[in-house]
């Protein structure tokens, strides 16, 4: 049996490396469109100010991008190094979007970024703008394919298990691509990236305005960021992940956990604004409810019910019992593929195979099963409520705070008086960390909320790991965290240095703090 320590360490390593990666990705995704906007204005008006804006914000974009690439390399290979059984079991489906991401998106993005930085004097204005646009398209397509892969982990459509090859196999590629879960995630995640990019430019521009330097440069940047940010934050909230909650059981489970909804309420269900979830007794010790809101957000209807945690667990108990049959039949088929009785048993229960595999966390042979063990596995099927409940609320609160900020920023940007509103500029400056916190917490809600599965309903996290030693995991985890932390410090140092210096770092002779060659 796989040791729990190994599983926990493997999860921790994946979480750490993915969260580090996700410090850089949203900014890249958002900044790249800001660069497209700035450069488009430059090409249309010919004003050098907009070229300088593209180049200066591009410089900061580059510092961020370098670490995005560094931390991204790990993720392409970590499925193989640390999640070997996962890679074998679902590689037939999961590998394809990753490979297509490389072919269709990442090549484009990475080739164009070279021309973006070095091609200014060698390309015509229009050619350079085309390069920037292609870089942006590549970046966003990259996010699309990664989220198609991730969406499949939440809602595994278009695939079937084969007992001969002992893995999931793709049956319908387009179902995987047009997985509604993936599409909802894509919109939500890239919009969050756009907000991050906008906040970055808004905050730093505000800082210049507060110091009254490079005013013209900062004002234009602020205006673009305010408009782009407002549109994006609306998109995050309105077209948010919510649209995905009606599809797939994984999302229902997540929804119940992050809403601390123990019972199935009559439709439309109320929304728990604040609650104190009590995991042991499966109830909330205290709750402030807003009637109807949950039902409307979750189902976009007044009459569809949302299942509560108790109902979900009861359903899963049946599936685990049926899954025992599936696993037993599979074992017989692995010994003899012509065993007709086993094949019949397997076909009848194979939809619940994954649920049967949940028990492998506790026993390696099913003759050791007891009702207590089954109960433990049932309880595992819903993630812990309190972390889900609070992280979701933090994310949403940050989203609305940013909506307010960008709303005010846009309002005063249209009126043209934001430069004389130090309170607004200060608010924008201090809000800088908000989108990053929201993104990281959002990642946590989506992925912790999927537990105990790597592939919902198909493959338990517990079985997905590589058979490595715990010592190896301690070593590699320490290595990753140490290496990344050093790089992060270096990155922050450079970012702050150049952000402080401002557009003078371009050495054009038009700004404060000019760089000396």
């Amino acid at each position: 049996m796989v040791s729990e320590q190994l599983v926990d360490l493997s999860r921790l390593q994946f979480a750490a490396t993915a969260l580090y990666h996700f410090l850089f990705v949203p900014l890249t995704i958002g900044m790249v469109w800001m660069l497209v906007i700035m450069e488009s204005v430059y090409v249309m008006t010919g004003k050098p100010l907009y070229k300088d804006m593209t180049r200066f914000w591009g410089k900061l974009f580059g510092i961020n991008f370098a670490l995005g690439v560094t931390t991204g390399i790990t993720l392409e290979f970590q499925f193989g190094t640390n999640w070997a059984y996962y890679s074998h079991y679902v590689g037939d489906i999961f590998g394809a979007p990753l490979a297509i991401e490389g072919l269709m998106a990442f090549f484009l993005e990475s080739t164009m970024i070279g021309l973006f930085f070095f091609g200014w004097d060698r390309l015509s204005r229009r050619q350079h703008l085309l390069v920037t646009v292609l870089m942006a398209v590549g970046t966003n397509l990259s996010a699309l394919w990664i989220l198609i892969a991730n969406g499949w982990m939440q809602n595994p459509v278009g695939a079937e298990f084969s007992y001969v090859t002992m893995r999931m196999e793709m049956t319908d590629f387009w179902a995987v691509v047009f997985n509604p879960d993936a599409q909802a995630k894509f919109v939500h995640t890239v919009s969050a990236g756009y907000v991050t990019g906008a906040m970055f430019v808004l905050s730093i521009s505000s800082w210049y305005l507060l110091r009254r330097r490079d005013v013209e440069f900062a004002k234009r940047s602020f205006g673009i960021a305010a408009a782009f940010g407002f549109a994006s934050v609306c998109s995050v909230i309105v077209l948010g992940d919510e649209s995905g909650y009606t599809v797939g059981e994984a999302q229902q489970t997540k929804l119940a956990a992050m809403e601390a909804m123990w019972e199935t309420e009559p439709a439309p269900a109320p929304f728990n604004l604040i609650a104190i979830p009590n995991e042991a007794e499966m109830k909330n010790d205290f709750a402030i409810e807003i009637p109807w809101v949950m039902g409307i957000i979750g189902t976009r209807s007044l009459d569809k019910q949302i299942p509560g945690i108790k109902e979900i667990k009861a359903r899963n108990r049946e599936r685990i019992v049926s899954g025992i049959e599936a696993v037993t039949a599979l074992d017989a088929l692995r010994r003899d593929q012509n065993d007709a009785a086993a094949r019949r048993g397997f076909e009848a229960h194979k939809a619940d195979l994954g649920f049967g595999l949940l028990l492998k966390k506790y026993v390696s042979h099913f003759d050791q099963l007891t009702p207590e063990i089954i109960e433990k596995a049932v309880n595992d099927t819903v993630p812990r409520v309190a972390p889900m409940f609070w992280s979701f609320r933090l994310m949403v609160a940050l989203g609305f705070a940013m909506l307010l900020l960008f709303g005010l920023a846009l309002w005063h940007s249209v009126k043209g008086d934001f430069a004389d509103k130090p309170w607004l500029l200060r608010a924008a400056l201090y809000s800088l960390p908000m989108p990053w916190i929201a993104c990281e917490v959002g990642w946590f809600v989506a992925e912790y909320g999927r537990q105990p599965w790597t592939i919902y309903g198909v493959l338990p996290t517990h079985l997905s790991v590589s058979t490595l030693s715990v010592e190896s995991l301690y070593g590699s985890l320490a290595g990753f965290v140490g290496f990344y932390t050093v790089l992060l410090v270096v990155e922050m140092y450079l970012m702050i240095k150049f952000a402080k210096q401002g557009p003078g770092s371009l050495g054009t002779g038009r700004y404060a703090n000019e760089a000396h060659a």
């Binding site: 390399i73 074998h88 590689g91 090549f107 080739t111 060698r122 390309l123």
Partner: protein, 379 residues
């Protein structure tokens, strides 16, 4: 949809193409990284060297990422078994590669000499370590890797990282590092002039020689001392993949069987050697572009030589030979192979097209004057 057997063969070729593409494209900028501290004597010279690959290293590195993704999609069992088995070797590659993006992008943003020198050595590590480990990994494939599967195809690797570093594998590491460094040197001859070019030419002389010598030595060692693997049971190319359904034995000289059956494959080792000499001669006579392609041909030859010898094996198991991974039984489903074939056929030409455009736009010699004029934007 093509029949399963043909798809399996095509994917063996395609993975080979991706590997060769990686070695030619990412290889030349890794070679440049390895040579950086030696061919660039002062800061300006080093910036010249770095800027020969400045606009391109990032796109080139995607060959590595895409190669990983393609192996995941087409050979999931290989992706799973090899990367988890070679755990520390793989991490060493990743950690070495970490130095590249930050090394390229951050190095020239601060002018302190210690800062810049530190990143120069970072770029050296990022250039030299990955090819060394890939070579070592290939060396171990020829000897068999100690892994096995249980009934549910959970793989267990029973070796250690240190066992990978055996003499034959290290020799293969020398072949691969010399090959990549040689390739980088030829590229530098093409993109630089004066002193740096002259030093690059000398490096090409040395590493080309080392590459040919070690390549021949590895071949002789393989012939004399390393038994190959042979599938004994009947091979059904179109069957559903199950790596436990065959019997495999070890046999002296088996790694040369394909060369006996298909003598045309002997062209591959010939390319590996002739390519090097041709590249050296062309580089010396000033035809550096042609030299680059000759060096690329040598890479095709060396990687092709290894692939043709191993075929149909990808990763033989020394612990349980029947569990060896082959092109027939460690592949994805017919549908996935077919979709991935289309994706590759559609996107690969497009990639080659815009990559060529990028090189054309940024083409020409990189000079000290260029670095001075662009000191705020160049690497």
């Amino acid at each position: 949809m093509l029949d399963y057997e043909s798809l399996k063969l095509i994917w063996w070729l395609l993975v080979g193409v991706l590997l060769v593409g990686f070695a030619i494209m990412d290889g030349h900028d890794m070679g440049v990284g390895t040579l950086l501290p030696f061919v660039g004597k002062d800061d300006t010279e080093r910036r010249v060297v770095i800027n020969t690959v400045g606009p391109h290293w990032d796109g080139n590195q995607v060959w590595f990422i895409t190669g990983g993704g393609a192996i995941f999609a087409a050979w999931p069992l290989v992706y799973a078994t090899a990367f988890s088995g070679f755990y520390w070797a793989m991490l060493a590659v990743l950690w070495a590669l970490f130095f590249r993006p930050v090394g390229f992008d951050y190095r020239s943003k601060i002018s302190k000499p210690t800062w810049r020198k530190t990143w120069d050595w970072g770029l050296f590590v990022g250039g030299a370590v990955p090819p060394l480990i890939f070579g070592v990994a290939f060396g171990n494939l020829f000897q068999g890797v100690p892994f096995s599967f249980d009934d549910h195809l959970v793989s267990t690797y029973s070796g250690s990282f240190w066992a990978l570093l055996n003499p034959f594998a290290l020799l293969c590491g020398v072949v691969s590092t010399a090959m990549i460094t040689f390739h980088g040197a030829i590229y530098l001859v093409h993109r630089t002039q004066g002193e740096i070019q002259w030093r690059a030419l000398r490096a090409a002389g040395f590493f080309g020689g080392l590459m040919v010598l070690s390549f021949v030595a590895a071949g002789v060692w393989l012939w004399m001392g390393i038994p190959g693997y042979v599938i004994q049971s009947a091979v059904e190319g179109g069957a559903l993949p199950n790596p436990l359904a065959k019997t495999v034995v070890r046999e002296a000289g088996a790694w040369f069987a394909n060369y006996r059956i298909y003598p045309a494959t002997l062209l591959l080792p010939a390319f590996g050697i002739v390519g090097v000499f041709a590249a050296q001669a062309l580089a010396r006579s000033g035809r550096s572009m042609a030299a680059f392609w000759a060096s690329a041909l040598a890479i095709v030859g060396v990687i092709g030589t290894a692939g043709a010898a191993l075929f149909p094996f990808i990763m033989p198991s020394s612990l349980d030979p029947r569990a060896s991974l082959t092109v027939w039984d460690s592949v994805s489903s017919q549908l996935t192979l077919s979709i991935m074939l289309w994706a590759t056929l559609i996107f690969m030409p497009i990639i080659i097209l815009y990559t060529s455009w990028a090189y054309r736009v940024m083409g020409g010699k990189v000079t000290a004057a260029y670095v001075r004029e662009n000191s705020h934007s160049a690497y």
